[in-house]
Assembly symmetry: C2
Homo-oligomer: 291 residues x 2
Amino acid sequence: MKDNPVVVAIIGVGLIGGSLALALRQNRFSRKTIGVDSNLLHQQQAMNLGLVDEINELDAAVKSADIIILAVPVNTADALIKKVLELVDQQVVIDVGSTKTSICKNANLSNKRGRFVATHPMWGTEFSGPTAAVEGAFKEKAVLICNKEESDADALMITEKMYKSLGMHLLYMDAGAHDLHAAYVSHISHISSFALANTVLEKEKEENAIFEMASAGFESTVRLAKSNASMWLPIFQQNRENVLDVLNEHISQLRKFKSCLEKENYEYLLELITHANDIKKVLEPSKALIE
Amino acid sequence: MKDNPVVVAIIGVGLIGGSLALALRQNRFSRKTIGVDSNLLHQQQAMNLGLVDEINELDAAVKSADIIILAVPVNTADALIKKVLELVDQQVVIDVGSTKTSICKNANLSNKRGRFVATHPMWGTEFSGPTAAVEGAFKEKAVLICNKEESDADALMITEKMYKSLGMHLLYMDAGAHDLHAAYVSHISHISSFALANTVLEKEKEENAIFEMASAGFESTVRLAKSNASMWLPIFQQNRENVLDVLNEHISQLRKFKSCLEKENYEYLLELITHANDIKKVLEPSKALIE
């Protein structure tokens, strides 16, 4: 492994891959960025937007890079990880997907498992593709590193160095624990938003009224419903059991609100709302971490 | 009615009342702002923050104002509207509450109904009280004016002039239609957020993991869960039937996601997500209006 700056190959130059490419060039962690993408339009956009220095085939990109970042939907990452590990020698392979159990299981099938580091930078938006890439995306955000004991010490160290260079806050977790927590802090929010969007689209016929009345609160709760299906469907598939548990709990919480309204039990409704206000304690410490 | 600038009495100097006070002074629509608030701390804060020029009792404030703005929780507005209308002569009384059927019904009990204009500026945050007041809050947002035919022509005109002076986009609607649409674009988002917050708080014991992992998507969907119970409980009470309808639809939409996951029916899950993506069409025209 050469000293910094290094050559980085980004497999999947979309929202996350593209934003990582920008950030790692800007802080001079990378001296060259090679993009790999099966989508021709995305290849062109990534070059035109200056996200990467060149576009290449997977094999060639892996061979000439020091660090390979897998930033594709989680089902594609699962399909690619073994092949990418077969191509590497001393390089480091890092994935950035929203589920971790499945990719770790697939990586374990390779005798080069040690070169792989499973990570999840906690940043994203509802947009996708190279045009969604933004500068300064990861600064002061958390990044989860999973099953670190299964990675070679030097691969782990290089990965930590990369994320630290972006100003990220490192957290370590077992892949199973990650997937459970991710169901709570990310996956259920998306399902709730998708369902809320469908609720409005289903029942509301006079769309003009909604167009015009839609307020900031509405936009805030449904913005995730714009999220890309090809990214989110595989996440729900892979984290199916945890997502189902949380979804059941969420439906049962909504039923409590429904029951209060049906029975006009406003004392209990007040209790439910006041209890929900405690989410401040969850949200504000996370802000405190950023400061 | 004197020419501009006028004296404005704000009953309830909180998030909305305080922000209106600031905006109407800043654009010189008001030459003097009188605050009325039953909460002593809020009285002091409103003065200290310079939201109002003086604090006074309800009767005196109404008597010396040209425009009286009711910016209290909707149950308090219901209780006050008849009394305030009794006190007015040629002044205009405007409410800014999130439900409109109930206040119009109460106003109709007064023989001075014509002096009242029922409105709902589509702006708010999850914070409350005078310290939550912000500058520039209403610019380019929509404001609903309900049952305008029940207001005197001059009262309506002054109200329209006031909201236009804030750069707002005027919409007219029957109170019943307003409450139905508001259930979709605002009330259900709040219930969904409250329930989502309770889901996380209920099941997630290792809070540290959530603190640290909580991402922007999570914060976006649960931020409304911080909203004040004393404002929202009366809204849900007054709009109970519409909110129940929308809540039932929302639960049934969530059950579709649940059923897909249970049966591993990923084709239909993809369809549900892709359909939800259509919410772009609802959100983006509303942005277009702003531009």
